[in-house]
Symmetry: C3
Subunit: 470 residues, 3 copies
């Protein structure tokens, strides 16, 4: 080959081809980029769809709580309990919108959010994630959905915490005292401990885990309820002068069962929904199965426990058993195996039954078993991560729990977090209830309690036309 | 360089390279096209999934209506109301399939669909959209889902309109008269006004907006109900001879509360589902938050209003307050801010309470408050677009409402549409009820009304074995 | 042109260009591959989302069954029925996890799964599909979702079969006998016939079709119930000495209606969910519409039948009519047109009504109509494929049914499968009930039956405080 030939090849190869290649590449790259954006939009859309649907399911749990709580109380207090449960989500919606969301997820210090506090109005470029995120709600920048999807999902969780309180204080609380308490709980107290754990606060930094809220939601609701129950005192006639508890039967077990199944259904939004993204769906499927298995196992152990301790399997124990298992698996659902979930459930069902008797011995009068379900098993579920966690089982690096060779470290942090939230929430709630007690009173009159809160607080009855005995 | 070299470069560059480039491009383009199709299929699948799930939620509202309506009436009429609510969706399903969908969405003139009228059998190449669409249901060519998904979503909406009527005429309507009315309402009347607004008819052309149906569904149901209520007259004993209304209490407030929460839950299909596509999910999230916020605000204002006017917060007012807010936000949910939604809700709750007293003064006897909820707030919600709309807030060019500097234009069009639908539906329903009254009678006998429609119309009672007082 | 020029062009074209092209191609191919993977992940995620949401809806049917069954029985047995329905899903969850899923879907022979039997622990590389699948649950390798999604979806179906039994044996069965029966049914019997049809067994190989389980779930539940009903005998007082049936009215038709609507709602998970993938959503939409249309048509024919035979439209007949249509369309929902679905529904509603009278003539006492709904229409629905199938109507090659020119072949196979499942399940269930009867007894004492199973089995009553007559 001669020089000219080589030169011509060189020129074409070095100058002409790259120019053409670049042109082609840029064409193709722009096409690829637009495809990539199309995929990204579909992905964001799908994640948002999931977050919203899960939120709808959690919203629906309001029905479950309303039916379980009213069904387990007496007919004469039904309207009051239903009204409390209905309005509490309205209060929560407004309260969490005005201030709660900002306090919980706004950028701030280790103890509370300080930016974007009011009306979810902070800067935010969601659905951008991670480093691409620029805004004041950084603690939620790991999920690529619009800000209102994040807000709505967190709102329905916040509403749950307040609803838990409702059951424990039933049949003697003043309607407006409860409303005020709920507004402050959802607007201020819940968001603060929530910030510690889900808002990038000090417990999050320490390595405390709570996947869907055994502590953030359930034990917080439980502690707030316990403070109220102590300050309210037991219902008239619940304990005889020698302290023997007198059973006060629920007036409608059909409603209680309905409520229990609605809650179980809603929990498939609560736990699997806490992924807040879909990915290939495998974490959602894992969490749904651990959640359901814990509930099933807990029902079985609660039924057996009730059969042993009460001679016959009591339906309210069976239903509370289901809820106990669901509460207990809420924190660890994404961090443990299905087998561990079954064991957690078995323990939770047993705890739920013995807790009912224990509270009664302490003369802590909880008409619906909310403390046994949400407080006891909220604590247990949070600690269960320290026992049963398997590092990375669905991708999260939790480290191993005690039973899987991880030693006491994780368990210690879980215990610390549980204790810190307990102290803050119980103390805060106690003070708040006390202030309410002093200023407006929290307990209805003895006469109103006897006649029923429906007539006293609402001027109506739940079952007009039915012959009611007591 | 010599001529030959230049020539060789030219030949390669101009002839050979483009051929090769074309080949490469066509390979890559075909690969990109197949990717694009894969993305497109996933997108269509996701949109369809959303439309179907939203439709399931709206279907579920049938339960809400059944429970609210039967619970607010007396035990002796429960079976009748439940049967009406159960069968009405069956009637709607068949009626809308046979003719309603075609009349509403078939290509036609400004007043009704004329093509593809029967059995959803018209030509249609969905999920193709916009210019790619060729078929006779052009009014729905903006959403890229299969025809049956469009049909099913619209069907569950149509069913809602008929169910609204059911409550207002309860406790005195003849079972078969109601069935015939519902069949005509869903098959003919609802689709005609629906065509005007959602089917590309004259109101759509004018720039009338109704995102999820405050007018298309709720006020249409309300007007049809009002005509029936006027022709039926009040229930025996509802008004004393001097016109004083006597309260007739609902027999089961647990069911009413359940129904209210189920409706609220279902509304998350009704409003956000009316996007009929997912996109990046931001419109869905926005609409869910405006919807929920309006409901919450409306509960609070209804509770306060009831507390003021009735001295105590009445549970049925609280629940109807929630529904009022939901109806009112249905039209504007995608066109207003969350703050505006809160204000709309506050107004709706107040309207719901005072409307109940107003109907009673007019001796319009509506046992369940359907007129206060669906008619009054259906109208208000439609007009609220003219007041609170913010142009393009979620992408739709509505123009601004009065309060956002848009002047009276939008409000005027909204008022015109509301009025036109009112005249058509009220007149049509009045004539239809009148014909039924003349031919088969619409009201049960006084004796049957006294003993209850359950025994008279169905030969059974709802609560066999319970001691019932009246 | 001279030789050199030609040579230089050749060299560049043949040697240099391909090299560069290859480099470019490989760059682009790798980018395309990553896009493809991104699309694939989104697709898998979307399919999983659908399977899980559908499963949640099917889970929710537990509430529907609990309310329909308890509502149609007497108040004194309500707690017992609710407890049975609540615990049966817990039992199913554990039993199907331990062994059922493996028996049904594990690779094995024509009659049962043999690999991956216990605790869903078999090898599995889901969501890989078809040839890419390597694992022991090959029968489910057509759906690209994670193993736990498959398991959970199948679990909620298995739970349904056991729940069907619950209603038919109500008001006289011993609590623990039922629990043991349910555990074996879900763990062993249901999975074996399920393997024949959905697990790659002999009926699948023969070309037997059952899209969502008219036979796999409903008639299996029905046959198991029938065996129990025969061995249990009728409720005390149900038939007079001359054989005349005495109607025993349900105690709460509000609950029955609620249950019916919840079941209908849940069926939108049951049938459309059985696609187990989304694709472009068109099969889901088709199945939802056939399902809903059959239910609607069945309600209408059941109402008319009841009106004719019983003089007045009975609410329980209307509701069971809906369920009958839903059961009947379950097998053929994806294989027939909407018009055929309407005809299937019309027939199903008629069958449901006359079946109720027929069982009573045979002194087969089924308190809730479970046999008329699930057994009769499970059989009818399965055979309906042989009559109404249209080959490939939603993509599946079923061949045509008799009415669409397919002759008797498909009908014959459907009949054979129906019969084989009937013989196996009825015989198996009969033996199991018989063993239980001999060892622990299956029927409560006459005294307990009279006083109610609530006090006898559970030591509590459902409506404490209400005046109850019987």
């Amino acid at each position: 080959m001669n020089r000219k030939l080589i030169l011509s090849i060189l020129i074409i190869t070095v100058i002409v081809l790259p120019l053409i290649g670049e042109e082609m590449n840029s064409q193709i790259t722009s096409e690829l980029t637009s495809k990539l954006e199309a995929i990204e939009t579909v992905k964001v859309g799908m994640d948002t769809l999931w977050v919203m649907i899960a939120a709808f399911l959690v919203f629906f749990m309001n029905l479950g709580f309303a039916m379980v709580e009213s069904g387990l109380c007496r007919a004469k207090n039904t309207v009051n309990i239903l009204a409390k449960n209905f309005i509490v989500f309205a209060i929560a919606s407004i309260s969490f919108w005005i201030i709660g969301f900002g306090l919980m997820f706004g950028d701030g210090n280790l103890f509370a959010g300080l930016k974007g506090l009011f009306f979810v109005k902070g800067a935010d470029n969601s659905p951008a994630v991670a480093d691409a995120y620029s805004g004041v709600y950084s603690a939620l920048n790991w999920t690529g959905v619009p800000l209102f999807a994040k807000f709505f999902f967190q709102l329905v969780f916040a509403g749950t915490a307040a609803t838990i309180v409702s059951g424990a204080v039933a049949e003697r609380i003043k309607f407006h005292a409860f409303i005020i308490f709920a507004a402050v709980l959802v607007g201020i107290m819940y968001p603060i401990t929530g910030h510690w754990i889900w808002g990038g606060g000090w417990l999050a930094r320490l390595g405390f885990f709570d996947f869907a809220g055994s502590t953030v939601v359930h034990s917080v609701g439980g502690w707030a309820a316990l403070a109220g129950v102590i300050l309210l005192g037991a219902r008239s006639g619940k304990y005889s002068t020698d302290g023997t508890p007198k059973p006060i039967m629920g007036h409608n077990m059909s409603m209680v069962t309905l409520g229990g199944l609605v809650l179980w259904f809603g929990w498939f939004g609560f736990n699997p929904g806490s992924t807040m993204s879909v990915g290939d769906g495998s974490v959602i499927a894992h969490v749904a199965v651990t959640t359901n298995t814990a509930a099933a196992a807990s029902i079985i152990s609660a039924t057996v426990s009730s059969w042993i301790f009460q001679k016959k399997p009591d339906l309210s124990m069976i239903i509370n058993g289901a809820l106990a298992g669901l509460v207990a698996i809420t924190a660890p659902c994404a961090f443990v195996s299905v087998g561990s979930a079954a064991i957690i459930g078995l323990i939770a069902g047993f705890f739920a039954v013995i807790a009912v008797f224990t509270w009664d011995k302490l003369k802590i009068d909880d008409p619906v078993g909310a403390l046994s379900v949400h407080l006891v098993n909220g604590i247990f579920g949070t600690l269960a991560i320290g026992l049963f966690a398997e590092d990375g089982i669905t991708g999260t690096a939790t480290g191993n729990g005690l039973f899987f060779g991880g030693g006491l470290k994780l368990l210690g942090i879980q215990a610390l977090g549980t204790g810190a939230v307990a102290v803050f929430t119980f103390a805060g709630a106690f003070i708040l209830w006390l202030i309410l007690k002093i200023i407006i009173g929290i307990r209805v009159s003895k006469d109103e309690e006897l006649k029923g809160l429906d007539l006293g607080e609402h001027g109506g009855e739940a079952y007009s036309g039915f012959q009611i005995l007591n």
